[in-house]
Symmetry: D3
Subunit: 70 residues, 6 copies
Amino acid sequence: MPIVKIEMLPGRGQEAKQKVATEITNVLAREFEVDAAHIYVMFSEVAGGDWAVAGRFLGDPSTKPAKVTS
Amino acid sequence: MPIVKIEMLPGRGQEAKQKVATEITNVLAREFEVDAAHIYVMFSEVAGGDWAVAGRFLGDPSTKPAKVTS
Amino acid sequence: MPIVKIEMLPGRGQEAKQKVATEITNVLAREFEVDAAHIYVMFSEVAGGDWAVAGRFLGDPSTKPAKVTS
Amino acid sequence: MPIVKIEMLPGRGQEAKQKVATEITNVLAREFEVDAAHIYVMFSEVAGGDWAVAGRFLGDPSTKPAKVTS
Amino acid sequence: MPIVKIEMLPGRGQEAKQKVATEITNVLAREFEVDAAHIYVMFSEVAGGDWAVAGRFLGDPSTKPAKVTS
Amino acid sequence: MPIVKIEMLPGRGQEAKQKVATEITNVLAREFEVDAAHIYVMFSEVAGGDWAVAGRFLGDPSTKPAKVTS
């Protein structure tokens, strides 16, 4: 009964999501020996203004982050 | 301090969500013996175009998924 | 296809979890008009030493938290 | 490689999120001794109409919740 | 920067997880055009006694669930 | 009512977690203008054998990952 969640930046099209869902479903069914009917693949978009790496937001190049000390 | 999250397809009304939140709050308070004041119930909509089961997206009947091999 | 996740402190028995799972399944099937076969209810224990409210961990009364300023 | 997720009501500005991301990145880098480059901080807004505490939704003062029995 | 989380029943070996992680990394890098270095794949086991489908826990065939009414 | 979840590799002590929880609670209370009493900080350990970056598991240097093609 695997549940797969994919968090990513916005902008991917339905065709790319379909390919990803299909390949993930196939590899899980094969390697974990589960019925594909029970495999969920869920996509979740996270805006660049809500996702910071090393204290810098991914989606806003004009942001001037406060000093990260390490 | 239970936190309950419910992921579901879009389209449910506030009245239905209220009934669900109330019943979940009541059963958790009773069975887990916690103060209802500390029970969170959170709803999260997942679009059909972001949710695939067996490699097929739930919200788009016209999608032709690539072959799922198992 | 609702997915319900419940995060809680450890220590609840299987009987209480069964009652909770049954009531949640029933209320979701009824209010959201989904087939119960597609309703997942998942429990996840979070230890008191991993869960802080207002800066104090729930599971360790001897913890002396640093001063919370607001 | 810590991943930090913050669920909150809507309405916070980018400046406040930047300060929060910076401070969280700094404290994790210092206390957990990880490279800041590997620290993700992600914000997720939950609408008041999707978030119930003690069976009452946070965002809708006009909601009349069904009776919470405990 | 995709983050992939896979919730599943316990019991899968490291070799199967490696194959799954590799294929997911590859398909995401290719279809979403992201650097594989930024792709996280995380596995999380959920015990059968914590995972109910249609009100029945997956890991305990002796469980007699209360009546699910729909 | 912010909920903060931190996923990290195992091995951090309670003292470090306390400092992190305190600083996160303080910055959220100050920047988001919420009562600290309503701020949850939750830690979740993810084993290195369950966390792959670029197709390589973090916790097992002996693992020989299959070829990542990009």
